[in-house]
Amino acid sequence: MKERLEQLKQEALQKVDQATDVQGLKDVRVEYLGKKGPITEVLRGMGKLSKEERPVIGQLANEVRESIAEAIDSKQSRLEDEALEKQLEEESIDVTLPGRPVQVGGPHLLTSIVEEIEDLFIGMGFEIKEGPEVETDYYNFEALNLPKGHPARDMQDSFYVTEELLMRTHTSPVQARTMGQKNGQEPVKMICPGKVYRRDTDDATHSHQFTQMEGLLVDKDVRMSDLKGVLNTFAKQMFGEDRDIRLRPSFFPFTEPSVEMDISCKMCGGEGCSVCKQTGWIEILGAGMVHPNVLEMAGYDPEEYSGFAFGMGPERIAMLKYGVDDIRHFYTNDSRFLKQYHKA
C-alpha cells in the first residue's frame, strides 16, 4: 500500500504540474482528494492491515494528501497571479495624455502687488484703512494743505461731481479722515490702498483711473530718519536685499520736507542704462514729514506730534517689477495678461 500511495502522489503531482488553468487544478483536486478519490479508497482498505501498520500507512496517506493539496494551492495562486498580471497589462493606458482639466483662476496683478505691500507693512505694525472714492473737496484738498486756488491743485486735475464733491485724486483723504477720528491724541500707523482718478487721457503711461497706496505714521517724536528706515525695509523686501535707496528733495503740499525715493537700478546695478535713463536710479515713491498744517487741521499739536507719509503707485511698481509696458493692460483685462500673473 505504501507503494500505491507513493505512486498516487507522483501521478497527482505530475498532473498538477501539467495543469495550465484553474479548472485543470480543480479537476486534479476532485480526482485525487475527493471523497471518491484513490487516496480515500486506500484509507478504506486499511482494515486489512495489522495494528502496527495502520497508523504508519494512515500518516503516510495524510502526508500524501497534504503535499498534493499544497502543490495544488501553490500552483493555483501562481496561475491567479499570472492571470491578474495579464489582465493589468491589458488595462494599461497612455499616461502622457492630458488629464481632466480643473478650472484655475487667480488674482489680478495689481491685487497681488497691493496685498504684498499690505502684508509687508502689516508686518511692521501698520493697519489697513479704506475710504470713499467720491470725496469731499475738504478731505481731498483742504485738509491736506491745499486750499481753494492753491497752484498745486493743478498737479492733479480732477473729476468733479459737484463743486464740493470729486473723484478722489489720491488716497490721502483716508489719512486725513483717520487722523481726524483720533481727536489729536492717539498715534496713527496706517496704509491706505485704493482706486484714484485724475483727468488724464488714457495712453501707454496715463490712466484716468489708477491705484495708489499711501502710508502714514503719526506719533510723538517721529523722525525723518524713521521714514528712511521704514522705506529702506520696504524697498529691500519688495525689490531685493541688494537694492539701495536714496531720498532726494521734492514737493508735496501735505508734507514738509518732501522727498522722492529712488531705488538703485537692477538692470545696470547703478551704472546707468536706458531703464533708469542713465541715472542708475529709479523713482519709486513720494514721501515726507507730515506738514504741520495737516496735523493741525486733524487736531494734532505739531509741536508735540510729528509724522511721516508716503505714497506709491502699484501700477508703476508692477511695470518696473514685471516689465509691463502699457498701463492700459491693467484695465482691459485681456485674459492672456490676467493668466500671466497668477503666480505674481
Binding site: P98, R100, P101, Q103, V104, G105, G106, P107, L110, T111, E115, E118, F121, G125, F126, E127, P132, E133, V134, E135, P151, A152, F159, Y160, V161, L165, M167, K195, Y197, R199, H208, Q209, D221, R223, M224, S225, D226, K228, G229, V230, T233, R246, R248, P249, S250, F251, E256, P257, E260, Q278, T279, M289, H291, P292, S306, Y331, N333, D334, S335, H342
Partner: protein, 808 residues
C-alpha cells in the same frame, strides 16, 4: 526750465564738474534734473564764411554761384537759398564737415559747376525748427554782426552747449530764472554767486514828464513801474542774446522783444514793452476789466474779459491782460521809436485766473502765478533798460514812474539746532547749520544753538520752521540721514474682519476657477444703469454723473460692475479668446438724490461674468458650456463657505433672460441676482451665451458670523432615503425641497435633488424630481419607525402643497 550750461558757467564756475555730475548734485540737493542734452546734434567743420560775390548759376534758375572767403581760402559754393546775398557772413560747412544726421559734406558738381561745401541754414546745423527766427526759416542763417571768416561757427552759434532740463516743483518758483538757478547751484556745490547790480545810464529828462501811473486795485497789482526809452532802433539782437534765448527754448524775434525775454530768463521777472506812440495816452491805468470788455491780444485773438481779469489801460482802453499777454494795438513793430517798459508785480491768483480763463499759459504767466521776487521787479526793469540802451540804441529817461505798495520785507524764521536734530534724527552741530545757511545766502543772527533767519524774498517758499528744516536737511544731504525705525509703542498691525473676508471671498472665486478683473468705475451713462441688482435699483435714483467728463466713455459712476465686465469679455472674444470666467470685487456708487449734494453710498459688490466653455476635454470628446447651473454652483459654494444660506427666486430683470434669472436673498434681504444676460444685450456686446452674478459683498460680510465653537462630528449614523415625485413642470424644485425640509424637521438634515426627468413615459406637462433625504438625530440612533413616520409626513406635505405624487 531749460538751463544753458554755457550761460550758467558764466554766472558760477561749474567747470570742475561734468554735466552729468552737476545734474546729480542738483538733483540730490533740491531740484530734479530731468535730462542733460546737447542743444543740437554735434556738427564739425562749420566755419564763418564771407560771401565775396554771389551770382546766378549759369545752368539753374534757382541756384546761386558764390565765392566765399572762409579764412584760409576762398571756396566756390553753389547755394539754393533764396536769401543768399553778397556781403553776408554765413555758416559754411567745408568739405570734410559732418552735419547732424551724420551728413558728410564733400566736394561736388552741381549742374556743371563745382561746389566746395555748403552754406547752412540753422535747421541744417541742428537747431529746432521752432527756435529758428522767422526771417531765417526759409533760408540760410546770416550772422548779425562782425565775425571773422574762418571762425568756428558752431561755437559762435553756441551749438556746442548742453541743456540741463529742470523739473520744477511748484514751490521752487525761485529757480525759474538763471539767477535763481545760480543761487541754487552755489548752495549745492558750495560756490559763490550774486546777481550783479544793473549799470544804467539815463539822460536827465525824467520819465514822469511823459507818463503817469495809476493803480485801481492795489491788492491785485501792488507795484507798477514804467520806464521810458526813446530813440530805439528795432533790429536783430546780438548773437549772444539770440543764442541764450535759443538754448532756453525761446525763439529770437527782435532786439526789443528779445531783451524783455532775456531779462525774464535772467531775473525771472516778466516785462512788457509797449510802443509808446501806439499806446495812445500819457497815462497808465491798471484796473479790473469791465464785464464784456474786449481786447485783441498779440496773437490776434479777440478776448472777452470779466472783472476777474486785470488789464493795463491807457485810461480808456485795455492794452494788455496783466501778466498774461499784451494787446495787438501797442505791439512793438519795426518802426517803433519809443518804448514804454512795464515792470510790475501782479497777484498770482489774478494772473492764474486770467491765464486759465483764456487758455494762455506763457513764460510770463507761469512766473507771475508762482510769485516773482518783489525785490527784483524794479531791478529787472532797469536791467532791460540797460540792455535796450546798449543793444537797441535807446535813450533811457531818468527814473521809474511807479505805483508802489509792494511788501518787500523778508520773512523771519527761528530755528533751534536741537529741534532740527529731533525731527531729522541727526546730530548736526550749530556750526554746520551756520555753514548751511551761509551756503544758502540766508542772513541770520546766531544765539548759541538758536538761529534767527531772514529768508531772502527770492525764496518766497520759506515761511516757517518746517521750510527751514527742509533747507537744512537737503543741503546737509538726505544721504547723511541715518536709517532708524520708529520708537513709539508698537501696535499689532493687521487686517480688519471685513478685509479678511474680502480676501477670503476673492480666494474662493479664484479657487472656483474665476480670474479677477479690475474695470473702470466711470462708465457710459447708458451702461451705468444696466445689469443693476434690484435692491440697488430701488435705492439709486439715477447714476452719479461727472460735472465735466472728459469723454462719454467715462462720464457716470457705475451702479453695477457687470457692464464694464461684459466689455472685458467682449474685448477678449474679439481676440478669439472665447472661454472666460471673470469675477470682480469692487465698489458701486448709490445716490438717493436726483441732484447730488452728498457723497454717494459706496457699496462693495462681488460680481461674476462667464461665457464660452467651462470645461473642455478634447481627447475624451467632453465639453461643458457655461450654463446657469455652473454659475449657480459657484454662488452656492460661496454661500456654503460663508455659512450664509441663499434663497433663489425666479425673477425678471430688464437686461436679463426672462426665464433664466433668479433673485438671490440672504437673511430675508435681497442681496443680488444670477442668470443669463438678455440675448439682446449679449448681442450688443458681441457675446454668445453669457451668465452673470452680482452680490452685495458688504451685506454678506455683515451677515457673516465668525465661527466660535467647534461643532462635534455626529456620533450616530444618519439614515438616507430617496423619494421620487411627479409634479407639474411649473413647480420649482426649490419649493419642494423647502417643503420637505419644513415637514421633515427636525430629523431631516439635508435634501438634495439627484434626478430631473421629463419626456418619454411621462405625462405631458409633468416632470419627475428625485430627492435624497438625510435623517439624523445627533443624540441617538434613529429607529426605522421614526424615519417612516417622518417620511409619511413629508409625502403628505408635498402632496398637499405641490400636488406631488409618488412616482410609481
Amino acid at each position: 526750465m531749460l538751463v544753458s550750461l554755457n550761460w550758467l558757467n558764466e554766472l558760477i564756475d561749474v567747470s570742475d564738474y561734468t554735466p552729468e555730475e552737476l545734474a546729480e548734485i542738483i538733483t540730490k540737493t533740491g531740484i530734479e534734473v530731468e535730462g542733460v542734452d546737447p542743444v543740437a546734434e554735434a556738427a564739425t567743420g562749420v566755419v564763418v564764411g564771407y560771401v565775396k560775390s554771389c551770382g546766378q548759376h549759369p545752368n539753374a534758375d534757382k541756384l546761386s554761384l558764390c565765392q566765399v572767403d572762409v579764412g584760409e581760402e576762398t571756396l566756390q559754393i553753389v547755394c539754393g537759398a533764396p536769401n543768399i546775398a553778397e556781403g553776408q557772413k554765413v555758416a559754411v560747412a567745408t568739405p570734410g564737415a559732418v552735419l547732424p544726421g551724420n551728413f558728410k559734406i564733400k566736394k561736388t558738381k552741381l549742374r556743371g559747376e563745382e561746389s566746395n561745401g555748403m552754406i547752412c541754414s540753422l535747421q541744417e546745423l541742428g537747431v529746432d525748427e521752432k527756435d529758428v527766427p522767422e526771417e531765417y526759416k526759409e533760408g540760410i542763417f546770416v550772422f548779425p554782426e562782425n565775425v571773422e571768416p574762418g571762425q568756428d561757427a558752431i561755437k559762435l552759434l553756441n551749438l556746442d552747449d548742453k541743456i540741463i532740463e529742470l523739473g520744477l516743483t511748484p514751490n521752487r518758483a525761485d529757480a525759474m530764472s538763471m539767477a535763481g538757478v545760480a543761487y541754487e547751484v552755489a548752495a549745492a556745490i558750495d560756490g559763490s554767486y550774486t546777481l550783479e547790480e544793473e549799470q544804467l545810464d539815463t539822460v536827465e529828462e525824467p520819465a514822469s514828464n511823459y507818463v503817469s501811473v495809476q493803480v485801481e486795485d492795489a491788492e491785485a497789482n501792488p507795484y507798477y513801474g514804467a520806464f521810458v526809452i526813446q530813440d530805439v532802433q528795432v533790429g536783430p539782437s546780438p548773437l549772444w542774446i539770440q543764442n541764450r534765448l535759443t538754448a532756453s527754448g525761446i525763439r529770437p524775434i527782435n532786439n526789443v522783444v528779445d531783451i524783455t525775454n532775456y531779462v525774464l530768463l535772467e531775473y525771472g521777472q516778466p516785462l512788457h514793452a509797449f510802443d509808446f506812440d501806439r499806446f495812445g495816452s500819457d497815462q497808465i491805468v491798471t484796473r479790473r476789466a469791465k464785464d464784456g470788455e474786449v481786447i485783441k491780444t498779440l496773437d490776434d485773438q479777440e478776448r472777452t474779459l470779466t472783472p476777474e481779469h486785470l488789464v493795463i489801460t491807457n485810461g480808456e482802453e485795455a492794452h494788455a491782460i496783466a501778466g498774461v499777454m499784451g494787446g495787438a494795438k501797442s505791439e512793438v513793430q519795426d518802426d517803433t521809436k519809443t518804448i514804454l517798459l512795464e515792470a510790475a508785480y501782479f497777484s498770482p491768483s489774478v494772473v492764474r485766473q486770467s491765464s486759465s480763463d483764456h487758455g494762455l499759459r506763457s513764460e510770463s504767466s507761469t512766473r507771475f502765478e508762482k510769485g516773482v521776487d518783489p525785490n527784483r521787479v524794479e531791478r529787472a526793469g532797469k536791467r532791460a533798460a540797460e540792455l535796450l540802451q546798449k543793444y537797441a540804441g535807446g535813450t533811457v529817461l531818468q527814473g521809474v514812474v511807479s505805483f508802489d505798495e509792494l511788501d518787500r520785507s523778508e520773512k523771519q524764521v527761528t530755528i533751534e539746532t536741537s529741534v532740527i536734530n529731533k525731527r531729522l534724527g541727526t546730530e548736526i552741530s550749530p556750526e554746520e547749520i551756520g555753514q548751511i545757511l551761509r551756503r544758502l545766502q540766508f542772513t541770520f543772527v546766531q544765539d548759541g544753538e538758536v538761529f534767527h533767519i531772514s529768508a531772502p524774498t527770492r525764496r518766497g517758499d520759506i515761511e516757517r520752521f518746517e521750510d527751514m528744516l527742509e533747507e537744512v536737511a537737503r543741503i546737509y544731504g538726505y544721504d547723511n540721514l541715518p536709517f532708524t525705525l520708529p520708537q513709539g509703542a508698537s501696535q499689532a498691525g493687521g487686517l480688519s474682519l471685513n478685509q479678511q473676508l474680502k480676501r477670503k471671498i476673492k480666494a474662493y472665486f479664484e479657487g472656483a476657477g474665476l480670474d479677477e478683473t479690475i474695470t473702470y468705475s466711470l462708465t457710459k451713462e447708458d451702461w451705468a444703469t444696466k445689469l443693476v441688482s434690484p435692491e440697488v435699483e430701488r435705492e439709486a435714483v439715477s447714476p452719479v454723473g461727472l460735472a465735466m467728463p472728459m469723454s462719454e466713455e467715462h462720464s457716470h459712476l457705475r451702479l453695477s460692475q457687470l457692464p464694464e465686465m461684459l466689455q472685458s469679455l467682449s474685448y477678449n472674444v474679439a481676440r478669439k479668446q472665447n472661454d472666460l470666467a471673470y469675477y470682480e470685487v469692487g465698489t458701486v456708487f448709490i445716490s438717493e438724490e436726483e441732484n447730488v449734494t452728498k457723497q454717494p453710498r459706496e457699496v462693495l459688490r462681488a460680481s461674476g461674468a462667464l461665457t464660452g466653455q467651462w470645461l473642455a476635454h478634447p481627447w475624451q470628446q467632453e465639453k461643458k458650456e457655461v450654463d446657469f447651473f455652473v454659475v449657480k454652483g459657484i454662488v452656492e459654494g460661496l454661500s456654503e463657505l460663508l455659512d450664509i444660506p441663499f434663497e433663489y427666486e425666479k425673477g425678471k430683470l430688464p437686461d436679463m433672460h426672462p426665464g433664466r434669472t433668479a433673485i438671490i436673498k440672504a437673511g430675508g434681504k435681497e442681496i443680488g441676482f444670477i442668470g443669463q444676460v438678455h440675448p439682446k444685450l449679449q448681442k450688443a456686446f458681441g457675446l454668445k451665451e453669457t451668465y452673470v452674478f452680482d452680490l452685495n459683498a458688504e451685506e454678506l460680510m455683515s451677515q457673516y458670523e465668525k465661527e466660535e465653537a467647534f461643532q462635534t462630528i455626529p456620533r450616530y449614523p444618519s439614515v438616507s432615503r430617496d423619494i421620487a415625485l411627479v409634479v407639474d413642470e411649473t413647480v420649482a424644485a426649490g419649493d419642494i425641497a423647502a417643503t420637505i425640509e419644513e415637514a421633515g424637521a427636525p430629523l431631516v438634515k439635508d435634501v438634495q435633488v439627484f434626478d430631473l426627468y421629463q419626456g418619454e413615459h411621462m405625462e405631458e406637462g409633468k416632470k419627475s424630481l428625485a430627492y435624497n433625504l438625510l435623517y439624523l438625530d445627533p443624540n441617538r440612533t434613529l429607529k426605522d419607525e421614526e424615519v417612516e413616520a417622518a417620511h409619511e409626513n413629508i409625502l403628505n406635505a408635498v402632496k398637499e402643497q405641490h400636488k406631488a405624487e409618488l412616482r410609481s
